[in-house]
């Protein structure tokens, strides 16, 4: 029996000819990632167990992105723990304020991760890098400590769901609408412990930013990873960017999938996930009765250049509704700079939006846009759980940058 793309990658990393669903394997990791929230816990476990040196200082990435520039003394101390460790261990891929970006936008942009890699990160959205045809998954801090110490991680080989994408998206839709639609179809545990493998001719019509967004939210369906096949789009994205030459794997023709889901991209409409689960999807046009207080455009899901351009095209020459606060956060310093150079930030400010340096801030209710009791926000982020962006009686609606920007002008949710 053949292997899926995920099985191919895992077998290679485990030094095995073949793996099958349910096998417990010990796989070599190419990059181990942590942020300012999860790394301090990993460092504590690493030191407590008596380790004093990481397995390879070039294969560890520490990105300060959740609460930086630090929001208070406690988060400053957490950042300092990461910084001290990074300097002590001579971590090559350490990104502090000024160099940092939101981790899952930053690492692919800089070419720290590449195709064929096995990547673990102490952040659930580490599944993002499946877009560049890597096996990439979120783990906890102790897993991060184990990988930093040994260079390995244990995995159970997951069953796979094949998602066949057909056709082409309408111009008002993007990768965000695709992944929200899929989560709406299968639910927040529809891919629990499984791999989501995106195939089909429709993939060729999706940009790398679309793919990164789609894989980013694989976890919101409970998936272990999401992954696209390597193609010309992957190749041209990685060219001149990747630090190491990536590997290319392909699923066998006779690979077995637990489920096959077909999505016709032409049929997808601007989609919104209503509170309090990403699976509560509705068409944006049916939510015109939902007035909003705040808009957030950014995050590891939608803070890349195409997202900024989508918001710019809507907001340019218009005004954010008088009773709406619109917060825009480019995900990396390069995206931020490009927005400045192209005059995009000037237009955002002219429209009445506020623009921040990169941070995860509001997405997880950290800072930079916390909601009061009863307030509503439409956000391009990835989760709308109870209390996710502030008060437990506030509400978050998830959407694409275009839908969020349109809603910012209208003052209510609109497509």
């Amino acid at each position: 029996m053949g292997m899926t793309l995920t099985e191919k990658l895992l077998a290679n990393a485990a030094g095995l000819k073949e793996v099958k669903v349910g096998d417990l394997i010990n796989a070599k990791v190419d990059i181990v990632l942590g942020n300012d929230i999860t790394t301090p816990v990993a460092i504590r476990e690493f030191k407590k167990a008596g380790f004093d040196k990481v397995f390879d200082n070039k294969k560890i990435a520490i990105v300060l992105d959740h609460f930086v520039p630090n929001k208070d003394i406690k988060s400053a101390e957490q950042s300092k723990v990461c910084r001290d460790f990074a300097y002590e261990q001579n971590i090559t891929h350490f990104y502090d304020v000024g160099k940092m970006g939101i981790e899952h936008a930053l690492l692919p942009e800089l070419g720290v991760v590449t195709s064929g890699d096995v990547i673990v990160g102490a952040d659930s959205h580490t599944c993002t890098y499946g877009a560049i045809s890597a096996f990439s998954t979120g783990v906890g801090s102790t897993d991060m400590a184990y990988a930093m110490a040994t260079g390995f991680e244990w995995f159970k080989v997951p069953p796979a769901i094949k998602v066949v994408l057909k056709g082409k998206l309408n111009k008002e839709c993007s990768g965000k609408d695709v992944i929200l639609t899929l989560i709406g179809m299968i639910g927040v545990d529809g891919a629990l412990y499984k791999s989501l493998e995106f195939v089909g001719d429709g993939c060729k019509t999706l940009s790398m930013d679309d793919r990164l967004c789609i894989c980013n939210m694989a976890i919101e369906a409970g998936a272990k990873n999401g992954i696209f096949e390597f193609d010309e789009i992957t190749e041209s994205y990685l060219k001149g960017r990747e630090e190491r030459k990536g590997k290319v794997f392909k699923a066998d023709a006779d690979a077995e999938y637990e489920q096959v889901i077909e999505i016709v991209l032409d049929d997808i409409k601007p989609t919104v996930s209503c509170p309090h689960l990403p699976e509560n999807t509705k068409d944006a046009k049916d939510l015109n009765n939902i007035k909003i207080d705040q808009v957030v455009i950014g995050s590891c899901t939608n803070g890349r250049m195409e997202d900024m351009i989508a918001a710019y095209e809507v907001l340019k020459g218009h005004k954010v509704h008088d009773k709406v606060r619109c917060i825009i956060i480019p995900a990396t310093m390069n995206v931020y700079k490009e927005c400045i150079e192209k005059g995009i930030i000037t237009e955002f400010i002219n429209a009445g939006a506020v623009v921040s340096t990169p941070t995860c801030g509001p997405c997880l209710g950290g800072y930079m846009g916390i909601l009061a009791k009863g307030e509503r926000c439409i956000a391009t982020t990835n989760r709308n759980f109870v209390g996710r962006m502030g008060h437990t009686e506030s509400e978050v609606y998830l959407a694409s940058p275009r839908t969020a920007a349109k809603s910012a002008i209208a003052g209510y949710i609109t497509d």
Binding site: G365, R383, F385
Partner: protein, 159 residues
């Protein structure tokens, strides 16, 4: 060991187990006073050593924050029983030595029930309802991690 049940539903996410606004706190003891705060504001006050959290599907979904199982463990919860767990929470619990049990009969257990869990025999006794549920055993490799006392202790053993 006997314990009282704190029962919750489907998709208990790590944002309600430990809200992100507290993730700047490094001290686990302080952090644990906010455990389950956004789903059950008095949990940390009411929970006693050996009590048991029971939930339905996809317990621990969302963020990878290990702070979630850590604060549950710090509150001396004996174990978490759910119909299914989100995969990162499942790994984290095993890695830090918080016992978890996948049990398809979780919906037969109610808030306030008294359970007696026999890990050796693999049986959950519902004393309140006079019922017994069988526990699925862990695969051998995962047992090794648990027996070593968590993943880092296991790493030391094999190093």
């Amino acid at each position: 060991m006997e314990g009282k049940v704190f029962k919750y539903g489907d998709n208990v996410d790590t944002d309600v187990i430990i809200p992100a606004r507290y993730l700047n706190i490094a001290d686990v003891k302080e952090l644990s006073t906010h455990c389950m705060e956004d789903i059950d504001s008095d949990f940390a006050k009411n929970v006693k050593p050996n009590d048991i959290i029971v939930a339905l599907d996809n317990f621990g979904c969302g963020s990878s924050r290990e702070h979630a199982p850590l604060t549950i463990k710090e509150n001396k919860v004996q174990c978490v029983i759910a119909k299914s767990f989100a995969r990162i929470f499942y790994r984290n619990a095993i890695n830090i030595g918080l016992p978890i049990i996948e049990c398809e009969y979780a919906d037969e257990i109610d808030n306030g029930d008294t359970l007696n869990i026999d890990f050796e025999k693999g049986i959950i006794k519902n004393i309140t309802k006079n019922k017994e549920y069988k526990i699925n055993v862990f695969p051998e490799f995962i047992k090794k991690i648990i027996d070593a006392g968590g993943l880092m202790a296991y790493a030391k053993e094999i190093a």
